[in-house]
Symmetry: C2
Subunit: 159 residues, 2 copies
DNA sequence: GATAAAGATTGAAGTTGTCAATTATTAAGT
DNA sequence: ACTTAATAATTGACAACTTCAATCTTTATC
């Protein structure tokens, strides 16, 4: 009776309507549970370490608190995550010049190198996407981008 | 220089091409990190408990091992997760009739009720999606669905 | 009937999450 | 200036999730 819960598209018809948009997005989100985990595991990074490496701008040191916000987690988590990056020689803490409470993070050469490899790997388009017609991919990019734009606009409006 | 890593769309132009498809999908995936967590939290469920509730078909008991596969985790995790669902009176273990090694899971009335509320909440389309033109939503549904279809076809081909 | 395999559980160790408390430093109020 | 806030980072306690190895029961296989 209610098998749509397990798989919203199980009984879908060929032609989809605008009402199918969110259900399909849900299925996509739920099915991609371990994608980033696997991506990071290839470089012996935990998911959060991967996010940290991704978020540390090689050009500009980032305060711990800024990283916590970027990773949407408590500041206390960042300490341990950065400890491990530092232990592996991927990142380093430095004192902020103007405010001594702040510790900023920088990537080491090793960290920068890993960051580039991680992102190159991440950006490898999966076959399930390249297999699609160019026009379909272009539309998907446009539509999904529109959702992200809209969400950004909403968040901006809250402030 | 390499700020695309942090946000692939930071410097994007208005017109997107097929090559932007995967980068945009990545951004969408990474930005939705805590969506399911928040969804489950509204019903005092942990993310995995939520997945379990979602995956237990009310019509058909599911073996622990099948749940482990569905949730893409080790069988040993399921024990603890189901323990808590059982403690809350949402699910129950039953012996399989044909194979006494197997324990199958069923939802209680309370569990079924919660499952319906959870899914109803999950299916509430966010404003960022409803705000889009109908044609955009329809195209997004079609394109994303095509990716999922393609991936299913790939997985099927592996066997 | 002995051995192997499968299903579920347990225990140990590591990662991630929240929360409260602590320390050091800066900002604000009077 | 001096006390009081507030901020940045850390620490410790505890729960959730993950993997892995080991165990136990039950079924399959030879």
């Amino acid at each position: 009776m209610d098998d749509k819960l397990k798989n919203p598209r199980r009984n879908r018809v060929k032609k989809l309507s605008a009402d199918d948009c969110w259900p399909v997005m849900i299925e996509f989100l739920l099915s991609q549970k371990s994608w980033w985990v696997a991506m990071c595991a290839e470089f012996d990074l935990t998911p959060m370490q991967g996010h940290a490496v991704r978020s540390i701008d090689p050009e500009k040191p980032v305060p711990m608190s800024a990283l916590a916000e970027e990773l949407a987690c408590d500041a206390s988590n960042i300490t341990g995550i950065v400890d491990k990056l530092e232990a592996r020689g991927l990142a380093a803490r430095r004192a902020d010049e103007t405010d001594r409470r702040i510790k900023v993070l920088v990537l080491t050469d090793k960290g920068r190198h890993l960051r580039e490899k991680l992102w190159a790997r991440t950006m490898e388009t999966p076959r399930a996407v390249t297999a699609l017609p160019e026009e379909t991919r272009r539309r998907l990019a446009e539509a999904l981008s529109a959702v992200l734009e809209e969400r950004l606009a909403e968040e901006a409006a809250k402030r």
